[in-house]
Symmetry: C2
Subunit: 127 residues, 2 copies
């Protein structure tokens, strides 16, 4: 699959809330997530490597989060990269943020190698 | 300079329309621009390398363009990258688009190496 085909399929799944399925279908085995910052007390490192670790994080996140709404913009492609904007309105069920509804947006940069997503890098303001 | 310092200075200059000055001050000698697509009939290749070639392009662009307004969002940093959104409302004075006022937005991904901008990659919809 080309970067554009991966991006289109990613959008198809994420735009109906199937983020976990997108990860399952489109991520490379050694895919990694790179957060902008290390969150104090977070159960995961800023850079989390491996599709199985990412799927596990996603499963736990889903179990611990009530998603009120989410949105993703159409991906924009350039060579091996695509970018999109994700917005989520959610309430955590457990942990330090439990019960606090929060809305956040991030710019997501995906790198595609050999037809699979090899890296997702997230950009957001902590202000 | 760290990525964040470069990003902050970039924003300081670009937010008052000093794109050319930002290039002069912050680009590496071998910096390159990577457009999302090859424009048919464009005087520049999709990938344009070298600060002097980029400054030359910028000089010609300024001479040929009336800028009605421009905006840049605050850069978001992650490791060696920063992203921002640029919007410009402009009218070309010459060429195939002469006299046509157009507004366009793009997501810009900058890569910083050794305290200088080494690459700018642009993402936009052609739709």
């Amino acid at each position: 699959m080309s970067t554009k085909e991966v991006a289109d399929r990613f959008y198809e799944l994420c735009s109906v809330g199937q983020y976990h399925e997108a990860m399952q279908e489109l991520y490379a085995d050694n895919a990694r997530h790179v957060e902008a910052v290390e969150f104090p007390g977070a159960p995961y490192p800023r850079v989390l490597e491996g599709k199985s670790a990412l799927l596990d994080m996603s499963t736990k996140w889903m179990a611990n989060t009530e998603v009120h709404s989410s949105e993703v913009t159409k991906p924009l492609v350039n060579d091996e990269h695509f970018v999109c904007e994700m917005t989520i309105d959610a309430t955590s069920k457990e942990g330090p943020m439990a019960g606090q509804r929060h809305k956040m947006s991030e710019t997501c940069l995906y790198t595609v190698k050999n037809g699979k997503i090899a890296e997702a890098k997230f950009f957001y303001s902590m202000g």
